[in-house]
């Protein structure tokens, strides 16, 4: 186990910003949601890695990761429900179709 923690940090940071990039460029609402999952996973990697390498005697990061997964699941459920609702109203899930409210 001699991989420096920075390596993991690079990984998670990259993943995080890939998620961000996805959020910004995807046209599909579900695609955007997936990008958010990437973001959350990147965060989770952070928590777990910090726990493992820096503070291994407590399970703080571990538990946090666990809860993030739970919350992400709940969030996804609601988000998908909402997207279906959008679909019902707009007949598609293109992100450009939710640009009515502006200015």
């Amino acid at each position: 186990m001699n991989i420096p923690v920075e390596y993991f940090l690079v990984l998670s940071t990259l993943l995080f910003f890939i998620g961000v990039f996805g959020f910004i460029v995807r046209k599909n609402l579900i695609g955007i949601l997936m990008s958010i999952e990437l973001v959350l996973n990147a965060v989770n990697i952070n928590f777990v890695v910090f726990n493992r390498f820096l503070y291994p005697d407590k399970l703080e990061g571990f538990i946090y990761g666990l809860f993030v997964i739970i919350v992400a699941a709940a969030e996804t459920a609601v988000a998908i429900a909402i997207i279906i609702n959008v679909y019902r109203n707009m007949k598609n899930i293109d992100v450009n179709s939710i640009k009515e409210l502006k200015n």
Partner: protein, 480 residues
């Protein structure tokens, strides 16, 4: 048995949460068993049950100024209790205003409405009272995810769906950013408990970056510029009671927990976050005001107004002193009555005529004098005009900010009040001065709205004069 004992002792200071959960369960069960016929009584039951909870909340007091349970996971103090009570009052008022809407347009889902709203309230409680970033995170999500569902409640309307989608996506995104910040906090501080983290002060850039990521997440909840862009769209699309709830309760809870975290966890970085907030406040107030000027839809208008109000609230936060905290909480308290009064009027009129445009309000005074007067009071109070309560809250919040010698900031904020007064007066002008060929017909408000509006009006008029409220806040507030 020890565990069970500890378990109970842990919950023993969580009276408000426990009673709220009881109400929650009660509402859930009532909704389950009441059936189609009982729907009529369901709302009354829910409101009554919650009202009891509100009353109960005011009886509480902790022995010492600060207490925690679950080994620091949960913290409380008189101030925490007070903030929760304020949120309770606001929620009750929202219930009053939502009654008519639930009765007529949301009949099938009124039980869910109450349940979801109360669960978000519980989330806010946890946000406020958490002593650990984990509980804080769960509270935050509890306060925002069901909220997204509520924003989508008006399922026939495209706007509602769009608003909900924007809200949930932005919320998820911001919580991602915030979590990234929290993860870095964990990585650098080595702990997620507030009181321990406060001591792990290293003055490292990474810690500051973590703090900024965290602040961005909070900025989303409080809708600070540049994290505010969802606000107007969501406020406009959401059902009006939900908008009211979002604009006051969600914001108030977030501000207080933000303040609490800043003065505990990040207290050693006070200078840094004060500098950051300085700019954020300036931008927030200015952008909120500038964007509000051109709005024609009242809900959207109030959204931008609430953005700039958020900037004003932060003037109390930025000081980080006990006086600042007292001023902040006082501001939230006053803002609650004022903004809810405005939304009460809007929802009242929207429910019965479907009109929310500023032009629709032309000549309102000639047809609905009482509503127009209350709306005017709300606008004046928001604009900080005496004798209305808004003046006092604004004065105190500025006073708190100047305590830290931030005269320039206060001056900019004050110049901005001129702009804000301008658009608040636009509403007054529409109602009183302009004449309309097609004014809103005289409206007979339902009893619940009347009660709600009466409470708000009384609040707006008398709260400034009742100094014990502020005195009490001042006596229980704390700072860096």
């Amino acid at each position: 048995m020890d565990i069970i004992k500890e378990f109970y002792s842990g919950f023993s200071i969580m009276n408000q949460e426990v009673s709220l959960v009881l109400v929650l369960v009660f509402v859930l069960l009532a909704d389950l068993f009441c059936g189609e016929k009982g729907k009529k009584y369901l709302q009354l039951l829910a409101i009554a049950a919650f009202a009891l909870n509100v009353v109960y909340g005011f009886t509480l007091k902790v022995d010492s100024t600060y207490q925690d349970s679950f080994a620091g996971m949960y913290v409380t103090s008189d101030m925490h209790i007070l903030v929760k009570n304020i949120l309770n009052v606001g929620t009750l008022l929202v219930f009053f205003f939502a009654h008519y809407w639930n009765e007529h347009e949301n009949r099938s889902q009124s039980g869910e409405f109450y349940f979801l709203m109360l669960s978000t309230l519980l989330g806010m409680y946890l946000m406020i009272s958490s002593g650990n970033f984990l509980l804080f995170y769960i509270g935050l999500e509890t306060a925002s995810i069901p909220m997204a569902a509520m924003v989508a409640f008006n399922k026939k309307a495209h706007e509602s769906a769009e608003a909900a989608a924007k809200y949930i996506l932005t919320a998820a995104f911001s919580s991602g950013v915030m979590l990234f910040g929290i993860s870095l906090i964990y990585g650098t501080y080595g702990t997620l408990y507030y009181n321990e983290a406060a001591n792990a002060f290293l003055a490292e850039p990474l810690q500051i970056m973590a703090m900024i990521f965290f602040m961005a997440g909070m900025g989303f909840k409080i809708s600070l510029v540049p994290f505010h862009l969802w606000t107007a769209d969501t406020y406009q699309g959401a059902p009006t009671p939900v908008t009211a709830y979002l604009s006051v309760m969600s914001k108030g809870a977030a501000v207080f927990s933000f303040l609490y975290i800043l003065i505990t966890v990040f207290r050693n970085y006070a200078e840094t976050w004060q500098n950051i907030l300085w700019w954020i406040i300036v931008v927030t107030i200015t952008v909120g005001n500038l964007f509000a000027i051109r709005q024609k839809n009242l809900k959207r208008f109030l959204a931008f107004s609430s953005i700039s109000q958020a900037g004003y609230i932060l003037l109390g936060v930025i000081a980080g002193t006990p006086q600042g905290m007292a001023a902040t909480v006082f501001y939230i308290f006053i803002y609650l009555f004022t903004n809810l009064a405005a939304f009460g009027i809007i929802s009242n009129i929207e429910n019965q005529t479907g009109k929310v445009g500023m032009d629709d309000y032309n000549g309102l005074y000639s047809t609905n004098p009482k509503l127009a007067v209350i709306m005017m009071l709300a606008m004046f109070s928001l604009g900080g005009i005496p004798f209305f309560a808004g003046f006092f809250s604004k004065f105190f919040i500025f006073l708190a900010a100047t305590q830290k010698e931030m005269y320039l900031l206060v001056f900019i904020a004050l110049l901005n009040t001129i702009i804000s007064l301008f658009y608040y007066l636009l509403v007054v002008k529409a109602m009183f001065i302009k004449e309309s060929t097609n004014p809103i017909k005289p409206i007979k408000s339902d009893a619940m709205s009347v009660i709600g509006l009466a409470i708000c009006t009384i609040g707006m008029i008398v709260l400034g004069f009742i100094s014990p409220i502020y005195e009490y806040m001042s006596s229980i507030s704390f700072g860096i």
